[in-house]
């Protein structure tokens, strides 16, 4: 589904990703962990096409297409969804209106008919209830005045409306209390399916108690330095990121050898 090969990317001329390799197959959940500044958020932003994140070399093939050639909205049309670490507040556009525009824009991209209004309303109400969001929030401006937890819940609501093929969750757990974390995880787990893949970017292992990944990658200094199963996350939690430095130097030695 997603194949990242030797990816180098920079922000403001500063190299962040330095030869990242990763393969995600349909139905898999990958967790990417790593210390601050290792390039976790850069990876998700590069995949979603955020301006200012410049790929200098390498390739990203998504479902047989060169992802890096596509505009952000085309990537969404192709089924990629980024749950933002810091969802943007947009006064003046209601949540409902944005989602309706989003759902129908994506359908249009896929040459599908618009979602009938009745179906849209029914679906959005169901999804809102599932992420335990007060329906009043649908009428409110996008994220405007929402608490941190409400914003994250709103990201999950959007994700469940758009039904992506590849979901990128950028530190969706940050700033959540345990109840909000459970709700968010419930939303994510409900979307697990054999043809949908997810990449969870997280600083803490805690999220992975609720969303159990198939693979855990450790990202350090712009490269994946170790890959394992969910137990790797536990080891990381127990031993801290200092351990990663060792991994990184090992990786370097291997590279040199």
């Amino acid at each position: 589904m997603l194949e990242i090969k030797d990816l180098y990317a920079e922000v403001d001329g500063k190299p962040i990703l330095k030869g990242l390799n990763m393969t995600v197959n349909p139905g898999e959940i990958h967790a990417i962990m790593g210390p601050n500044g290792s390039g976790k958020s850069t990876l998700s932003n590069v995949l979603a096409g955020r301006p200012g994140y410049e790929v200098t070399s390498g390739s990203v093939i998504y479902q047989g297409k060169d992802l890096l050639e596509l505009e952000p909205e085309e990537r969404a049309g192709e089924g990629i969804f980024l749950a933002f670490q810091y969802p943007v507040e947009i006064p003046g556009v209601s949540n409902m209106a944005m989602l309706k525009a989003a759902v129908n824009s994506i359908r249009k991209y896929r040459d599908e008919k618009e979602m009938p209004v009745g179906e849209f309303l029914k679906t959005i109400k169901e999804k809102a209830a599932f992420v335990e969001m007060d329906p009043e929030f649908l009428k409110r401006s996008v994220n405007d005045g929402f608490s941190g937890g409400e914003k994250k819940r709103n990201e999950i609501l959007q994700m469940s409306m758009l039904q992506p093929t590849l979901a990128l969750l950028d530190e969706t757990d940050s700033g959540l209390d345990i109840d909000a974390l459970k709700v968010v995880s419930k939303g994510v787990n409900a979307l697990r399916s054999p043809d949908r893949s997810m990449v969870l970017i997280t600083h803490y292992q805690r999220l992975l108690d609720y969303i159990v990944p198939d693979f855990v990658h450790v990202l350090s200094n712009g490269q994946i330095v170790k890959t394992g199963d969910k137990d790797l996350a536990l080891k990381l939690e127990a031993e801290g990121y200092a351990w990663v430095d060792e991994l990184e130097s090992q990786a370097k030695e291997q590279g040199a050898a």
């Binding site: 505009e71 909205e73 947009i90 003046g92 556009v93 525009a101 129908n104 824009s105 996008v142």
Partner: protein, 442 residues
């Protein structure tokens, strides 16, 4: 007036005497004095130039080049009006500045009197009211309007009257063979504890030539009155619009002025809110939508003269093409006006690199126990918001339009009279959003 005066004014605008117009109510000492004082002041100050600080960014030479004359016909425009608006209001129509009974409603609700200014001026009932709200730093066009005091509408709302239907004053300019000017003068007096919505619109019907709409509306709110005053300026694209709204508020009143500037090529609005009684609230809500080479100058002042008043000013501007907007927002807090809470915001969105916005907040605070905040921004659409929408599958161009609409909608949302709010929302949707996105908001 002298021939010399005529020359210096380059015939751009003539006083009534010059234009050989006999004014209603002439011969009453109080009114003659009001008019002649204004005429003298007009001559003394002369038409503004860019050398005047308050007109530095607004060059009216384009206006001065025109040969305006006053138009004294008021044709039947009902068909055009019916096309425009379809909600239930008590409608008063001024055609070319003249009160038009033919076009206006004859059903005046209980608790309100509506009359033409010309008729009202036959006696001294407006003595002490007319001109009472005008500021001392007014510009020459306002004096010209007072000097004319020809016609317009006088609305008096009885004490405790709560009007269900808004009163709508429609200023219509019709076609003429040459450039025309009108000096409509309105007076709104809201009795104690009365409540009303008043809409003022300006439109044109077949006015292909340039015209100048030089209107002044005075608003006097007595104790406890609540008013929402909407000014929807929708003049022809080649029109000049110079408008004044001067509001005096007594104790425990709330008057909110909504100033929506859409049409016109050169527009200047002076909106003054005088908080003269404690416990009052003055609101100013403004929107400018500029395109082509439109020039819109909003000159506002909120004066806290007494303690315990609040004010909230919220002006937004969207400028495309080569349009230009100027916002001057003065807040005065007098020495005695303790416990004042005044807020001002002016946000400008530039959609084109040739557009220009100037924002000039002026705070003059002489009291020490006040909360006063102000902020002004001039910028482009937020790239973070654009990317957020794009990442949800919305095309960049659609996202731009959607965000522009959202920016505008924040002002429209403050309009409490729902049919007007809906009308403007639909209109801006149509102008700003592609069809594919429009129905999202339906």
């Amino acid at each position: 007036m002298t021939a010399a005066f005529k020359q210096t004014m380059t015939n751009a605008l003539l006083l009534p005497q010059e234009a050989n117009i006999t004014l209603p109510g002439a011969g009453q000492a109080w009114l003659d004095k009001l008019r002649s004082t204004a005429a003298e002041q007009f001559i003394k100050s002369g038409l503004p130039t860019v050398r005047d600080e308050e007109w530095r960014y607004t060059d009216i030479r384009k206006l001065k080049r025109q040969q305006f004359s006053v138009q004294f016909n008021s044709p039947d425009v009902r068909a055009a009006l019916n096309d425009l608006i379809d909600y239930d209001v008590t409608r008063i129509v001024l055609v070319n500045g003249l009160f038009s009974p033919t076009n206006s409603t004859d059903k005046v609700p209980a608790g309100v009197s509506i009359q033409s200014l010309a008729i009202t001026l036959a006696d001294d009932s407006l003595q002490g009211l007319l001109g009472s709200t005008l500021p001392s730093d007014r510009h020459a066009f306002i004096d010209l309007n007072t000097a004319y005091c020809f016609d317009g509408v006088v609305i008096k709302i009885a004490d405790k009257a709560v009007l269900e239907k808004p009163i709508e004053i429609v200023h219509v300019t019709t076609g003429a063979d040459n450039a025309t000017v009108s000096h409509a003068r309105n007076l709104i007096v809201a009795g104690k504890l009365s409540e009303a919505h008043i809409i003022e619109r300006s439109i044109s019907v077949g006015a292909d030539n340039a015209y100048l709409n030089n209107t002044v509306t005075e608003v006097i709110a007595h104790d406890g009155a609540k008013l929402e005053h909407y000014k929807v300026q929708d003049d022809a694209e080649h029109a000049f619009h110079i408008g004044g709204v001067f509001i005096n508020q007594s104790r425990d009143t709330s008057v909110i002025n909504h100033n929506i500037a859409i049409g016109g090529s050169l527009v200047r609005n002076d909106i003054y809110s005088n908080l003269l009684g404690t416990g009052s609230h003055g609101g100013m809500n403004g929107l400018v939508l500029g395109k082509d080479s439109q020039h819109v100058h909003n000159h506002t002042e909120v004066a806290h003269r007494v303690p315990h008043c609040t004010s909230d000013e919220f002006y937004k501007t969207v400028l495309d093409d080569k349009s230009r907007a100027i916002f001057r927002g003065r807040i005065i807090v007098a020495q005695d006006a303790q416990q004042t809470d005044a807020e001002q915001r002016n946000d400008n969105l530039l959609l084109s690199s040739d557009a220009e916005a100037d924002s000039k907040p002026q705070l003059e605070i002489y009291a020490d126990d006040v909360i006063c905040s102000h902020g002004a921004t001039i910028g482009q659409l937020d790239p973070k918001s654009l990317f957020y929408f794009q990442s949800r599958g919305i095309k960049k161009e659609d996202a731009r339009r959607l965000l522009t609409f959202a920016f505008v909608n924040e002002v429209v949302d403050r309009i409490s009279f729902e049919p007007l709010r809906d009308e403007l929302t639909q209109r801006f949707l149509g102008e700003l959003l592609p069809d594919s996105i429009q129905e999202v908001f339906a």
